[in-house]
Symmetry: none
Subunit: 232 residues, 2 copies
């Protein structure tokens, strides 16, 4: 057991054991002498951990540098709230429900001083587009994307021609007022986009992605963005 490992272990003990934690406990737990524990505490403190030590009492972990505080600035709260409201307004029911829940959790995790700001956020999202009817289960599709599983779709292109394709769904893009499914098309062996309102049927084929090539995906989405913005 290396010292580094022990230091990590000590932090974990601080995180899990009910305070106060006595040095002797830590010594027993790590199988090291008391003297070493005191040296370790010193090391942890020098690394930014705030550990309160009270003689005759024990140690209490006050601030853990590994845990980023969920402290959002006013602007960040507004960005989060606005974004979630946007999602509430545009997304499929499952995702909208998730946005609602996320908003609740966010509210619960904020200190009271910032909570009213969440209620009173200055930004609201309104969207009155008549979105095309989407017949497929978008929630299920998103899950396929997340779990990187291929799906089979029935698709009608802009001319009305129908086809059945096996694709790896990569992401759903809110392309202005339509939802577009970005995919790797197994038929064409290339990236293809499909409008969600033109997909008629969807089922998983059970096939998994081949090893992911992240740079390729990045490039694809970057290209998507460039292509789109050149039109704006």
């Amino acid at each position: 057991m290396s010292r580094s490992h022990r230091l990590m272990q000590l932090m974990q003990l601080f995180r899990t054991l009910p305070p106060p934690v006595r040095a002797q406990t830590l010594a027993d737990e790590t199988g090291v002498s008391l003297r070493s524990v005191y040296r370790d505490i010193e090391a942890l403190r020098s690394m930014g951990a705030v550990i309160d030590g009270a003689a005759g009492y024990g140690y209490t972990l006050i601030d853990d540098p590994a845990l980023p505080p969920m402290s959002f600035s006013p602007d960040e709260i507004e960005a989060l709230v606005l974004g979630l409201r946007e999602v509430l307004a545009v997304a499929d029911p499952v995702l909208a429900g998730a946005a609602h829940n996320a908003l609740s959790k966010l509210r619960a995790s904020l200190p009271a001083s910032k909570r009213h700001q969440l209620e009173h956020a200055s930004l609201h999202a309104k969207r009155f587009h008549h979105r095309p009817e989407i017949s497929i289960d978008v929630a299920a599709l998103r899950q396929s994307i997340r779990e990187e599983r291929a799906v089979r779709i029935d698709y009608a292109d802009h001319t009305g021609a129908k086809s059945t394709r096996d694709i790896y769904p990569l992401g759903i893009v809110f392309f202005e007022s339509t939802l577009v499914l970005a995919s790797w098309c197994l038929l064409r062996q290339d990236f293809r986009s499909f409008r969600l309102d033109r997909i008629r049927f969807l089922k998983e084929t059970g096939e998994n992605f081949r090893p992911k090539r992240v740079p390729l995906l990045r490039a694809f989405f970057a290209g998507f963005k460039a292509e789109g913005e050149s039109r704006g």
Copy 2:
């Protein structure tokens, strides 16, 4: 700088730097040889950190044992990410920056097992509207809204007629492709909306809101919504 300290530092780097992180970067950052970085990675892995290393690519932190699982469901994460991306795409620079920071903090506070999902979120937002030029300082306006202070604006209505008004700004509404400032107009003693791109000048008058009447505000926004949706 002790090795233990360096290991902590490496974890922080993994949490902060955008993946992939190359060993050379870590070596430069920690001021240590490449060989030592590889040894350190090995040490971190033996401590429970799951670090994906791909030759020719770099490292990616997959699972961080120090982070307690935070309770956002996959759908909620997607809602948050999509919303923030939307904000990144449409908002003024200050708010967009805030959205970016919020995304970083969210990423940092997520257990690493869920983090890849944030990167790989299946939803993207694209927006190619040509938004009208807004000449006023939107960030300052949002601050006035937050702090509930009255402002004086120069406004040109749809006929081009100009006027100066003292208003209590209540909220900015993303009304399709335009930004609208919902306000209580001190001149008309009623709720009024102003398009941000038609506001020419803006300054605070220093006057504070009278005690807020939340129900009225709620009713106002509800009405705004009803009015808009009836058009859809």
